[in-house]
């Protein structure tokens, strides 16, 4: 009886929109991790191909938090983590299996693309934790220095520094540390010079993107709210 009631429950537009936003978040997050090891050139500056997609994960998360609140946004973050770990496991096994000699995709290509995944997922986790801790630490430090005044400056500075650390650690773990650990012998680490360029450019991109994100999130929130008729 209870079961039947549950099964025939009407799926509201509120729920439909949430499942769609969460699914898009997970899809784009996984894709970002996979394509980010291709570096692209935009007017002589080096970026990762992930720079095209990862802004969407932020916008999607902001829209979810705004419309559905913290509890549902946290759920999406957790699921993103679980999905990333699941992807790491599956691609790792797929990479290890001995290849068929007429395989449409050769092992060399598979190895080059998916060999980086564990380093990327590991790198984003370490970077996330480190930047969050530093963010909190700096906020507290500035609070003492300013005697509890200028909250908006403290807040912005600590976020900016946190993001820089995040970018630097991520690039270091994913493309220098992971290839050097040598689990996948064919991966080549990038040079420190490239690391520096990538960190600076991606950081600049993130800071600029933060401003462009605002109208995008406003529009998204407006559209979702209209769809679910709030």
């Amino acid at each position: 009886m209870l079961l039947e009631e549950f099964r025939t429950q009407y799926v509201s537009q509120t729920e439909r929109a949430y499942v769609l936003l969460a699914s898009l978040f997970i899809g784009v997050l996984l894709l970002t991790n996979i394509i980010t090891s291709k570096y692209i050139t935009v007017s002589h500056l080096t970026f990762t191909a992930g720079a095209i997609t990862y802004p969407f994960t932020f916008s999607l998360l902001d829209i979810i938090t705004e419309v559905y609140g913290k509890s549902k946004a946290k759920m999406v973050i957790w699921m993103g983590l679980v999905a990333s770990l699941f992807m790491t496991l599956i691609t790792y096994i797929a990479n290890m299996i001995p290849v068929y000699k007429h395989s449409p995709v050769p092992q060399s290509a598979f190895q080059a693309v998916f060999g980086f995944i564990p380093g990327i997922v590991l790198g984003s986790m370490i970077a996330y934790l480190a930047s969050q801790f530093i963010d909190v630490y700096l906020l507290e430090l500035f609070r003492r220095l300013t005697n509890g005044k200028y909250l908006w400056i403290r807040n912005n500075i600590s976020t900016l520094v946190g993001q820089l650390i995040d970018t630097a650690i991520f690039a270091g773990v994913a493309w220098i540390l992971w290839p050097r650990l040598g689990f996948s012998s064919t991966l080549e680490p990038i040079s420190w010079d490239t690391w520096y360029q990538i960190t600076v450019n991606e950081y600049g991109f993130k800071v600029i993107f933060t401003f462009f994100n605002i109208p995008f999130v406003y529009l998204g929130v407006y559209l979702v709210r209209r769809y679910i008729k709030l």
């Binding site: 209870l2 079961l3 549950f6 099964r7 025939t8 429950q9 009407y10 799926v11 439909r16 499942v19 969460a22 699914s23 898009l24 997970i26 899809g27 784009v28 996984l30 894709l31 394509i35 090891s37 291709k38 570096y39 692209i40 050139t41 080096t46 191909a49 095209i52 997609t53 559905y68 609140g69 913290k70 509890s71 549902k72 759920m75 699921m79 993103g80 679980v82 999905a83 699941f86 992807m87 599956i90 691609t91 096994i93 797929a94 299996i97 001995p98 290849v99 068929y100 007429h102 395989s103 449409p104 995709v105 290509a109 598979f110 080059a112 693309v113 980086f116 493309w175 990038i190 709030l230």
Partner: protein, 233 residues
């Protein structure tokens, strides 16, 4: 007021588990298409490495439709469709962008994986639609032929036929038609001899999978229903 209520609702356990199932479905769907191009050998037959993760998509939709009803299972399928299209668009864009010489992934490897990706997605969508359509047609034809008797036989025969068609279409579009259309110098269409081996291997795998699917779904459904309290102890 309404906005406040909507925002402060904490998620019930049943909804959380639903989101976990959704996430695994989406992740499995994307991975299936991404790693499809690498084949390994299993008892002499080539098998795609996506067979590692492809079964999850079925298990997830089956569990959702069993516990949460057909409406939510349908929602899952259509959202999977939308996410696939969005991801394919991004992959295509990422593949077109000029590569930097310092890139950790070389251009050839990237193209060999992602150049084939749109073909895999296109192939599985066309195959899915065609298989569903043929399944209904064959079922109806057999129903008339058998004068409404032998349901289990009709059901199995129509599924076997549509699955064979599904396999043939996906293999042909992904590994022959798309590489020809795309004309990417890093990817080449496979030969017909390899094609027949791949179709055979994949089809046999699907048959075995269909048998194994049932106990796995039964066990998962039982456990989840117990956990969220839909089943009295």
């Amino acid at each position: 007021m309404i906005i406040k209520v909507q925002r402060s609702v904490s998620m019930p356990l049943s909804e959380r588990i639903f989101m976990v199932l959704v996430s695994f479905f989406i992740a499995s769907l994307i991975l299936t298409n991404l790693i499809a191009g690498k084949y390994f050998t299993c008892w002499g037959l080539p098998l795609s490495s996506s067979t590692l993760v492809y079964p999850f998509t079925f298990v997830m939709t089956d569990i959702v439709s069993e516990i949460y009803g057909i409406q939510r299972a349908k929602l899952l399928v259509s959202i999977g469709f939308i996410v696939s299209i969005v991801v394919t668009t991004f992959v295509w864009i990422a593949n077109q962008l000029p590569i930097d010489p310092k890139s950790p992934i070389d251009i050839r490897s990237f193209q060999q994986i992602f150049g084939l990706f749109p073909g895999v997605v296109l192939g599985s969508m066309v195959a899915y639609l065609a298989a569903q359509f043929v399944d209904v047609q064959v079922f109806e034809y057999l129903r008339v032929l058998s004068k409404n008797k032998h349901l289990w036989l009709r059901n199995n025969l129509s599924t076997l036929t549509s699955q064979l068609l599904d396999t043939i279409i996906v293999v042909t579009i992904a590994w022959i038609i798309w590489p020809l259309i795309d004309g990417n110098p890093c990817t080449a269409p496979i030969g017909w001899q390899l094609w027949s081996k791949i179709v055979l291997g994949q089809y046999l795998f699907k048959g075995i999978l269909a048998l194994l699917d049932t106990p796995v779904v039964y066990a998962s459904v039982y456990l989840i229903e117990k956990w969220i309290g839909l089943r009295p102890n």
